[in-house]
């Protein structure tokens, strides 16, 4: 895409995060959407493009009273919203629509109005993975990790430290679900979920949502908030079956999406002031740092242990506390995008002073898909 041709002019999360048993999935989408519309000074009839995952764009548009000329229901898991941003940028630049609303809402904890989990026993996953006992993401997303640990000498302590440092960020965030400090021993002493993964290496399960509004950069200054510009974008998919990943020590979808986003943005790694890597589990930031090229293969553990991603470090990472401590409704990518936008607006609870470029990198499924968005707060 053309650098800085598109801006985020509205961004908000649901009014509440955490346990929201009085709201359904579509209700959470709408709450986030109305908050983002208010943030942008718009009403639903001003929107002519909609994108969402988890709900259909049809249901979203009708519920909110929007008549779109462009709709995108790309649903590849928790990074779908990164892909929506990318697709919306292309659609706006092509003249298919002018103001796009992207929403997420999920009753991950309370399961109000939520669909059921499960895969058809005739699907490839149903035939060639499910019979062997996977019981949700904690037992699937984690399967490649022993191979990664053996290849690079990564220890359980290294994995635990990812969660420890993210909790330090969460302590600065009043909206984070978990804010009390933890130690490596606390993590390694927490309940065993799926060896080598303990409970505190796994994300939260909460209710919530978020929404973004995008328009062309040349209209962005008409809106009340400081515009946040899209500098570059990337996306890719690899395989729906974690057992069929090409390389258990690296995500091909991450590498392809990240490289594309850096190329589009025309930046180097040293230009990046702030980074979000979707952390459904503690190994995701390790894979992400390496596959995005911030670290060489196997070196992310040292990079984190040396506190480069912690408060005061050179590459602040997951500054909202991440999926491990902030919130995780199931499709967390929207919250990574929201934190990047807050950092670019200068309104984050743990604000990185002087940050000019932020990257939000998402994963979908179990290393199945990826989307990467590079933001800038400097006008074109």
């Amino acid at each position: 895409m053309k650098q800085k041709s598109i801006a985020v002019v509205g961004a908000a999360e649901t009014t509440r995060l955490g346990k929201i048993p009085d709201m359904s999935v579509i209700g959470l989408h709408a709450d986030a959407a109305l908050n983002a519309l208010a943030d942008a000074g718009l009403k639903p009839s001003d929107i002519d493009g909609v994108a969402t995952a988890g709900e259909s764009p049809t249901a979203l548009a009708h519920y909110l009273g929007i008549t779109p000329t462009w709709a995108d229901g790309t649903s590849v898991g928790g990074c779908s919203f990164m892909l929506h941003v990318r697709h919306a940028a292309a659609a706006i630049n092509e003249g298919l629509c002018t103001r796009v609303l992207i929403t997420h809402g999920e009753s991950g904890r309370s399961r109000v109005g939520a669909g059921r989990f499960g895969m058809a026993p005739s699907s490839l996953n149903g035939q060639f993975e499910m019979p062997y006992g996977p019981a949700g993401p904690p037992t699937m997303f984690t399967i490649p990790v022993l191979r990664y640990m053996k290849t690079y000498g990564v220890t359980e302590e290294d994995l635990a430290n990812v969660a420890v440092i993210q909790r330090e960020w969460a302590a600065k965030n009043p909206r984070a679900s978990f804010r009390d400090p933890i130690t490596v021993d606390d993590v390694l002493g927490s309940d065993m979920i799926a060896w080598p993964f303990r409970k505190l290496m796994c994300c939260l399960v909460t209710d919530g949502g978020g929404a973004l509004i995008l328009t062309s950069a040349d209209r962005a200054r008409d809106f009340p908030q400081k515009p946040v510009y899209i500098l570059g974008t990337g996306e890719s998919v690899e395989t729906p079956m974690v057992s069929q990943m090409e390389d258990f020590t690296s995500s091909k979808a991450f590498r392809v999406s990240g490289k594309k986003a850096f190329e589009e943005a025309g930046i180097s790694h040293a230009d990046v002031d702030h980074l979000m890597i979707y952390d459904a589990f503690a190994h995701l930031p390790l894979y992400g740092l390496e596959d995005l090229g911030f670290c060489k293969p196997g070196e992310a553990k040292d990079f984190i242990n040396e506190r480069n991603t912690a408060i005061g470090g050179k590459l602040p990472l997951n500054t909202n506390g991440g999926g491990l401590s902030y919130m995780h409704s199931g499709m967390y990518g929207m919250y990574a995008l929201q934190e990047s936008v807050r950092q670019m607006r200068g309104t984050a609870p743990a604000q990185v002073e002087g940050a000019k470029i932020s990257i939000a990198h998402g994963v979908g499924g179990m290393f199945a898909a990826s989307g990467t968005i590079v933001f800038s707060n400097e006008a074109p």
Partner: protein, 136 residues
């Protein structure tokens, strides 16, 4: 305990499940591009797109590639922790499976340990390919 979650074969995968029922681990390979064996089953080569592929019996030898030990068993899998494993077959492809005839512990389950296939009948139609230590 509820009945174990089992596969429903499709026309494109039927040869694989028929093979398991008959005690044979069947893979596919391309006869056009030399792209080698592949899995899961499909009637064309994922490397070159050719439909000229053949089904053949694999050796059944593999090594343990990676795994987790699930400490919150799925109801149809019993009450004890069990390993969900990925093995690398001698012919190249990897597949998810369980490791049987071995303690389900990190000490007993070492990456790269040699394994061999064993077949576990579930119903008249479905037999699952599981793996056990090669010395077992």
């Amino acid at each position: 305990m509820p009945p174990r979650m089992l596969p429903e074969p499709t026309p494109e995968t039927r040869h694989f499940w028929d093979g398991c029922r008959e005690g044979e681990l069947r893979l596919q390979r391309c006869t056009q591009c030399g792209g080698g064996s592949y899995f899961p089953p499909r009637p064309f080569c994922p490397k070159c797109g050719s439909r000229k592929v053949e089904v053949y019996p694999a050796s059944g030898r593999a090594v343990l590639w990676s795994y987790v030990i699930n400490h919150r068993p799925r109801p149809d899998m019993g009450t004890e922790p069990y390993a969900i494993a990925v093995v690398q077959l001698e012919e190249g492809p990897r597949m998810m499976t369980n490791i049987v005839n071995s303690p389900q512990t990190p000490e007993a389950l070492q990456l790269d340990m040699p394994l061999k296939v064993t077949f576990a009948k579930q119903t008249d139609d479905i037999t699952l390919p599981l793996f056990e230590p090669a010395g077992a």
